[in-house]
Amino acid sequence: MFGCDASFAYIHAINSINCGNVVCKGVGYLTCALCLPSESPLLILLVANLQKDLQSTNYLEVSSALTALSKLVNIGFLHAFSDQIIKLLSHGVEIIRKKAIIVLNRFMKLNPSLIQDFSNHFRRTLCDIYDTVMAVTLNSFAQILSDENQLPIYKDLISSFVVILKQIIDHRHHRHFDYHRMHRPWLQTKLLEILGILGENDKRASEQMYEILSEVMRRADDTGVNAGYAIVYQCLKTITKIYPNQTIIENAAHLVSRLLTAEKKNLKHTGITGLISIVKINPIYAIKHQLVVVDCLEDSDDTLKRKTLTLLYKMTNTTNVTVIIDKFTGIIKSASFDIHFKQEIDGKITELAEKFAPDSKWYIQTMNTMFEVASELIKPNIVNGLIKLIEEWREDDDIIEFTVTEYSKILQMNENIPDCPMQVAPWVIGEFSEYLQSESIGSIMDLLCKSLFKSFDDPTTKGWIFTALQKISKGVPSDQCRDLISRFSTSRNEDLQQRCYELAGTCTKLPIQLNFKRNFNIITNFKFLESYEQ
């Protein structure tokens, strides 16, 4: 516990479980559950003990066995316990029933095929007289419903859930479930979560819920206690998940405004999350709160900033994409976030740029800025995507000229160019070298040759440069080429060697200057091979 390795003691813990004394047993189970790693072979020693204790008459032993089981069970031996646990679902003591349900829950998580077997049991425990058992069953339902195929089977339970929720907000359950003036907040949130899953994309199901949702929201909102806000937040989540209804969305938007203008950071954070879900339904609501959103962006709290950036991402459209991408690029340049987050932002920028780019030139410029600023974060398929896109613009002279100029500028200005632009730039220049002015071709070739001697992370980058040189030189052997051929023909990299020999081949064998023409006739008819078919 204090950080020291205690593996010498594991076997003692297991031994103490064997002991008849309930104190030792309890401590033994506790230690095992806390310390034993999940794939330990020592677990096999426990199986017999656990089975014995699960049948014990002393409910404490059963209870501690169940708690330990929920942690220690792995897919290897869960079938040894399923029948016993199902029997315990009808045990006299409610604590045992509760824990048995949770253990079954865990089994389901480990082995999803068991859902069919257990679902009938859960329907029964939902009607248990002891309402905490019913509450715990809801956890199982939430888990079952996370699998979409199961959804239609459980739609009939919507009315029962609505009835239970009504009972709760009328304070019909026992008073000792009151928590800070909220009645059973955890149960309320769980029910709301399940209703959200059941009502998604289903108009008829959602209609059953609108009334109860407004009622729950109203009651929870009055209190001003954190638990109340938690319920309100869950209502928001549910409302934005189910089939939309105008009045209820208005209520939700109203609530979001109140949360956003709250003092406490937690509530602001919740407000922004709520706004993200509402914006998906109707972007209008975001416009009202622009000022608040901008404030949150400048806030000193990291979490709030991140959430607001997610909101901006969801709110992007063609009008505000330039501003938002500028903001994101600023974030990447700043040092204040960790690398995972910057990678996420990076992905978002490329996605948004592709979806909402106002014109191609802006897109090229944005991608180049990205290469400059965030080179180590870029995914490799971006290069291919970009090349495909530029290929599509082949017919458009204007854009191609612009692209070629941009990339030649990059080559000329920067000393240490990272891999991605170093792959795209030579390709662009090689393909479209006729757009370059003739004086600069020489200097570009010099630069490319020099960069062959630099080191790159990706071994294929030099291959890109070589092919580009091949295309630019168009078969005219120059001194640089001869020099390169002699240097690289013995390179360790086979790809490079191959390209080197190709370059040598085109340079020496052809008497005239090559003219590369793009003339692809894709052969779809292989009739000429038919004679080879058997």
Binding site: N21, V23, K71, I102, T132
Partner: protein, 154 residues
């Protein structure tokens, strides 16, 4: 679901740790180290929620202990904050004005309380009265068993 609960002292010592998902020992150490760095010394005026890998951490400081909880992204963070509050209230009621020393010297009791409240990452009992009743029964039976072994050995 809740993946783990950690109780960290102000000086970075883990007083109580309960994992509801499987993590190897190495992963646990790494997790604890990173979480210590993120939560200790955090300004109390800031948000109680932190994003960590693919989870959300809910952290709150009570006296000299940081209570940290790791949950899935889809869960309701505000209600998880209430889970921590509830746990503290139970500890307070059981130990009568709890302080860090109580948890250090009676960590097994703290774990028993946690086990009654949270199993496999879900909250199963939300009535303080119920939990304390069960633990009181358990204590009684354990006392009896201890007295019995003592009389037998003497």
């Amino acid at each position: 679901m809740i993946h783990f609960i950690l109780l960290i002292s102000r000086h970075g010592k883990i007083r109580c740790s309960k994992y509801f998902s499987t993590y190897s020992n190495k992963e646990r150490e790494k997790l604890q180290k990173e979480i210590k760095g993120l939560t200790i010394g955090r300004n109390s005026k800031l948000c109680n929620f932190l994003e960590y890998k693919e989870m959300i951490l809910v952290a709150k400081r009570y006296a000299s202990l940081y209570f940290v909880l790791g949950q899935d992204k889809e869960e309701n963070e505000l209600i998880s904050l209430e889970v921590l509050q509830f746990f503290v209230e139970i500890l307070d009621k059981y130990f009568k004005n709890v302080c860090e020393l109580d948890i250090i010297f009676n960590f097994h009791k703290a774990y028993y309380l946690l086990d009654e409240m949270l199993v496999a990452g879900h909250i199963i009992e939300t009535s303080k009265k119920q939990i304390l009743r069960v633990i009181a029964n358990q204590d009684e039976i354990m006392e009896d068993a201890l007295v019995e072994t003592e009389t037998r050995s003497s």
